[in-house]
């Protein structure tokens, strides 16, 4: 122990040196045919030189990446207005644009910036949105995502999720010397930071409902254990290190409990509930088959999980009132696993075996009907965007692990690939509180 303490600080310093994360680049594979034509006009800048951040370009990229919008290229714009009353709707109508976003960025005396933006509907000339917000220099990207959120919601009627984040596991190095990193990035893949690194496997990151902590499985002690890490301080706490498997953590909607999979001494993998404050453990399933991958319904009254009690993995629901028995949900196909519940509780994203390939499907939580959404051969680890519009998952591209996003209706698809190494196990954050 003394020896451990002696060399620990040196090693921590060596590994804590900030390293350049591999860039995540977005490739849109398919957008919607009926995507909304919109123009995001470059913002006016009320000072000499260039603006510190091209906020309009961030909004343009967000809307385009969503697949629901078709932003007009800047080179096609006939004029560059910076306020709603300067928008000549006849010109924009000629360009077949339905909406125009205009605005202005101004430096404030205290070093911050004022961002003003307006959304104009071309057909009516009506101003649909108009807002002004003070922004720190370091938050200009985030401010762009907030503008995108507001535009998305005003036009589509669904809250935008551009200002949310994703957690994922990045893996690099040869098979004999792998490096695993738990990474958090903005939803557009930018602004990455490593929250935990280990030469041993890391998997199953799960966000706390307040977005302030991640629970995950790490093998860094040599055996699997579940850790909770506060993101602000980096403080990591081991919450489950029972004999055997400690896996698949999932936060209850109120954040007080983790559902998880344990095998304990007898090797029988079952679902348990761990109360975080007291470390009290309650066994929920007791079946000789595999029960794993629990996921909470948003009302906190039931859990979905994977079980092979019928001979092959299928999804079951267990009501948490005492005396309830698990009820099978999926019947289509020979393999349905890793359920994740949509924010409205109506659908489950699962991994399904589809003609020999493993794909992401959406399952109706009541009727069990299944729609295959993805088209890869080794798709896994689905996670819903907090607005329920999209599902992020892990797939392969040219033999390499990449992340992909598919819209809940299957019509929009995009890939997020790292410039080096593999990325996997994505988990989409909740909305910021």
């Amino acid at each position: 122990m003394i020896r451990t303490l002696h060399w620990l600080p040196v090693l921590l310093l060596a590994l804590a040196v900030p390293r350049a994360e591999a860039q995540l680049t977005v490739q849109i594979l398919r957008g919607m045919a009926e995507s909304v034509p919109i123009a995001v006009v470059p913002l006016g800048w009320d000072a000499p030189g260039a603006a510190p951040t091209d906020v309009a370009a961030i909004v343009h990229a967000d809307l385009e990446r969503s697949g629901r919008f078709r932003p007009l290229s800047r080179s096609q714009m006939l004029e560059l207005p910076h306020e709603a009353k300067a928008v000549d709707v006849a010109d924009w109508r000629m360009l077949k644009v339905d909406y125009v976003v205009v605005g202005r960025l101004s430096p404030l005396p205290d070093g911050r910036f004022e961002l003003r933006y307006e959304l104009v509907q071309v057909a009516t000339g009506e101003r649909l949105l108009g807002a002004t917000l003070p922004v720190d220099r370091a938050a200009l990207r985030l401010a762009g995502h907030r503008v995108s959120d507001a535009i998305y919601e005003r036009i589509l009627g669904v809250r935008g999720a551009f200002s949310t984040r994703i957690a994922y596991v990045a893996v690099d190095g040869p098979a004999t010397a792998r490096g695993y990193r738990l990474v958090i990035a903005d939803a557009d893949g930018e602004n990455q930071r490593v929250v935990f690194a280990s030469p041993q496997p890391i998997l199953s990151p799960a966000w706390s409902p307040d977005g302030r902590a991640l629970a995950y499985v790490s093998f860094h002690s040599g055996l699997p254990a579940i850790y909770v890490q506060e993101l602000r301080t980096g403080e990591q706490t081991r919450v489950s290190a029972y004999s055997g498997i400690n896996g698949a953590p999932s936060y209850s909607p109120d954040g007080s409990q983790l559902a998880l999979a344990l095998s304990r001494r007898d090797g029988n993998v079952d679902i348990y509930l761990l109360t975080l404050a007291t470390r009290e453990l309650r066994r929920l399933t007791d079946d000789p088959s595999i029960d794993t991958e629990p996921a909470w319904a948003p009302d906190g009254r039931s859990l979905y999980f994977t079980s092979d009690r019928a001979g092959a993995p299928q999804v079951y629901r267990l009501g948490l009132a005492t005396g309830e028995r698990p009820r099978r949900i999926t019947f289509e196909g020979s393999y349905n696993a890793r359920p994740r519940v949509s924010p409205d509780g109506r659908e489950l994203a699962v991994v399904t075996q589809d003609r020999g390939a493993f794909r992401i499907a959406a399952v109706d939580a009541e009727r069990g009907t299944l729609r295959v959404l993805s088209g890869g051969r080794l798709d896994e680890s689905p996670s819903w965007s907090p607005n329920g519009a999209d599902i992020i998952y892990a797939t392969r591209d040219g033999g390499r692990g990449v992340l992909a996003i598919v819209s809940a209706d299957g019509r929009v698809q995009q890939h997020l690939a790292a410039s080096a190494g593999e990325v996997r196990e994505p988990a989409w954050s909740p909305f910021p509180r």
């Binding site: 804590a16 938050a139 958090i184 980096g234 706490t237 919450v239």
Partner: protein, 178 residues
């Protein structure tokens, strides 16, 4: 003679496993400021003690070594954990060896191929390791000689996404001296 290098590798691997490279946690840097991890940043992560020193075996059939000439990997069918008939004699040979060497311990490491979901594969790897554990115990190995761990699909023996690689990855490795 052929055993010696293998035993050396085992012994070195066992030594290395006792002092893994330290993992690190890094606080969420927010607006670009990096904070060095504090003492509390590795709460629960202090498992990396240096392992117990073990003498290298001096000669012949050392305690803690695998039986000579017996393979140490058992392969499985997709999504199955029952031991195929062709591996019965292999399992029995290890069981007899363990029954005759009460001080010998093995770790049963369960693995799967990369298909399907990762946590289900962790569970499947554990079930494979448990199947081998039960078979060894039925043939005379002691419960206290056996531990299991599952890596699921995280540590493939063969890279690649074809059936040839998958066959080699659906396995339990019997690791002596752990």
């Amino acid at each position: 003679m052929r055993l010696l290098p293998a035993m050396l590798i085992l012994a070195v691997a066992a030594g290395l496993a006792g002092c893994p490279k330290k993992p690190t946690t890094v606080p969420d840097a927010g607006a670009g400021t990096q904070t060095a991890p504090q003492d509390g940043a590795t709460t629960g992560a202090g498992e990396g003690q240096v392992g117990q020193a073990r003498d290298l075996p001096s000669e012949g059939a050392a305690i803690g070594a695998a039986p000579a000439g017996v393979a140490t990997v058992i392969y499985f069918d997709f999504d199955r954990s029952d031991i195929r008939p062709e591996f019965t004699s292999l399992v029995n040979a290890h069981a007899r060896h363990l029954a005759g060497a009460a001080g010998t311990r093995v770790r049963l490491e369960g693995h799967t191929d990369e298909r399907g979901s990762r946590e289900y594969n962790i569970a499947l790897g554990e079930r494979r390791a448990q199947a081998v554990r039960r078979a060894l115990m039925l043939q005379g190995a002691g419960d206290n000689q056996l531990t299991t761990v599952s890596y699921g699909e995280e540590r493939p023996a063969a890279e690649g996404s074809d059936e040839a690689a998958y066959e080699r990855n659906r396995r339990v490795e019997i690791v002596y001296g752990r």
